[in-house]
């Protein structure tokens, strides 16, 4: 399975080299998308310099951390988002008859996926670490990649749940769009601005706060963390990511069995 995955990425990279113009286009696209979000944040915080004790530079780091995790998800797992389309067009059924795990096959459908966003995100993160004054030591260097991977897994969990819903309801495009834009809007600010109930939902039901807020609080040495938690909970992000994907995968299996059951 690993060999197949390596081969998949080798082909993907060759495709990328073939379509350089597309690569540039998507890069410009990503710059605009995140540029607008960061510009809005900057203009707001010129007027209001403090957001629950977070300044613009720290907010920048908060955004960059979410962005990197999210873009890693887009680079590795974006095909999951296309599952409703595969189902609608009947292309999903062939995955069921092959001797590989269905999800693995979905993840390795040849698609022109360019890691533009991810490259931009890493640049942004490096820059944000610099301006936010994060203390960079060996622990930080070792742990940030794990936080990013954990965050990408949290995102994968959400994509997987939405894809699974498509086994019952064919049209989930609006739902997916709404969830993704709400995720982005709600993770842009420290979750301490929300009421306790919403904070709990964002931490433990849909654990988006672990993608950026908790790890950022830890790395920025924040003392007053939302829900009165110890800042060290930020270190749990990789574990939360794995747990959340495990739950989502179990749900996916249920959906898959339902889908095979109806035989459609």
């Amino acid at each position: 399975m690993l060999a197949a995955y390596v081969e998949y990425w080798r082909i993907n990279l060759l495709t990328m080299l073939e379509y350089r113009a597309n690569f540039v286009m998507w890069f410009v696209f990503a710059v605009f998308y995140h540029g607008v979000a960061l510009a809005a944040l900057t203009v707001t915080m010129l007027q209001f310099p403090s957001m629950n004790g977070w300044n613009l530079r720290e907010m920048f780091f908060l955004y960059a951390l979410w962005m990197t995790a999210h873009e890693l998800h887009n680079a590795l797992f974006f095909n999951v988002v296309a599952v409703p389309e595969y189902i609608r067009e009947g292309r999903f059924d062939r995955f069921l008859v092959r001797p590989f795990d269905t999800l693995f096959q979905v993840l390795t459908v040849p698609a022109q996926i360019f890691p533009d966003g991810l490259i931009l995100a890493i640049v942004t993160l490096c820059f944000a670490v610099g301006v936010a004054g994060v203390r960079v030591d060996a622990f930080f260097v070792a742990f940030v990649p794990l936080v990013v991977m954990g965050g990408a897994l949290i995102d994968l969990g959400i994509s997987l749940v939405i894809a699974t819903i498509a086994f019952w309801f064919i049209r989930v495009d609006t739902l997916r769009w709404v969830v993704m834009s709400l995720e982005q809007d709600f993770t842009r600010y420290p979750i301490s601005i929300y009421t306790r109930a919403v904070g709990i939902v964002l931490s433990f039901v849909f654990p988006f706060a672990f993608m950026n807020y908790f790890p950022a609080s830890y790395f920025l040495n924040k003392t007053d963390v939302a829900l009165n938690l110890n800042p060290a909970v930020g270190l749990l992000t990789p574990a939360i990511g794995v747990a959340w994907v495990a739950v989502a995968y179990a749900f996916w299996r249920v959906g898959l069995r339902h889908y095979e059951g109806t035989g459609s």
């Binding site: 510009a39 010129l46 957001m51 629950n52």
Partner: protein
Amino acid sequence: MAAGAYVEFARKAFAREATYRMEVFTLVGSLILRVYLLRSLWTALYAQNAEPPGLPLHSMITYATVALLMSLVLEVDGTRLIRERVREGTIATDLMKPISVPIYFFSDGLGQTLLHALLIVPSLLFALLLVHVDVPPPQTLAAFAFAFLLGYGVNFFINFLMNSVAFWTLETFAMQLIVRWGSDLLSGQIIPLMFFPGALGRFVFALPFAAVYSTPLLIYVGIIPASQWPRYFFIQACWLASFGLLSLWVWTAASRRIVVQGG
């Protein structure tokens, strides 16, 4: 061609949009979550910083909530049909029909818009559970409605022009999204334009995007006083006229292009 046909087109579009009930509910649901988000956000920002002049917290929350409700109507891209028809080539048969095709697209867009306008009612009711929305005096409300109408026109023609690019280059989606994101920020939908500092602030007020969200909203919350209304209406009307004429010209050039190519 009788106006009755265009009313029928609008009715069809309305009915078509109304069939996607699930989507409609999702849309209203997400709007409510957004109202909650904007309340939390602005409350936190006002609690710890100096209040910007002329815009107390209740006005800011009113501004942001009304902007969200406006977006229900303004984010409908009624002229998306042009792009699809051009790509599929069916635009040729549209042009052969005894109708004015641009007015047909406008009617179709209007039908979709009306359905979304109806959604404002439940959305507003739910929003009122979360936030308090100021209601200005009747003449201000009337001025807001008028400015909104002009803004709707400007927005329609901006979309029309964006979609008409499809006549020249088939792939317009990327450019359209970029313009959409830019205009979200520059129209005052996300943040009031007066938060932009100094010269940048004067610049964004001078752009056509300001006519779409900023002008009606600033009239609503009273930042633009009654004495200034004519000035702002005039600017909006100027943009409307310019984009309207530009659209007419682009449309004429585009349809000739299709005929010349043997469509």
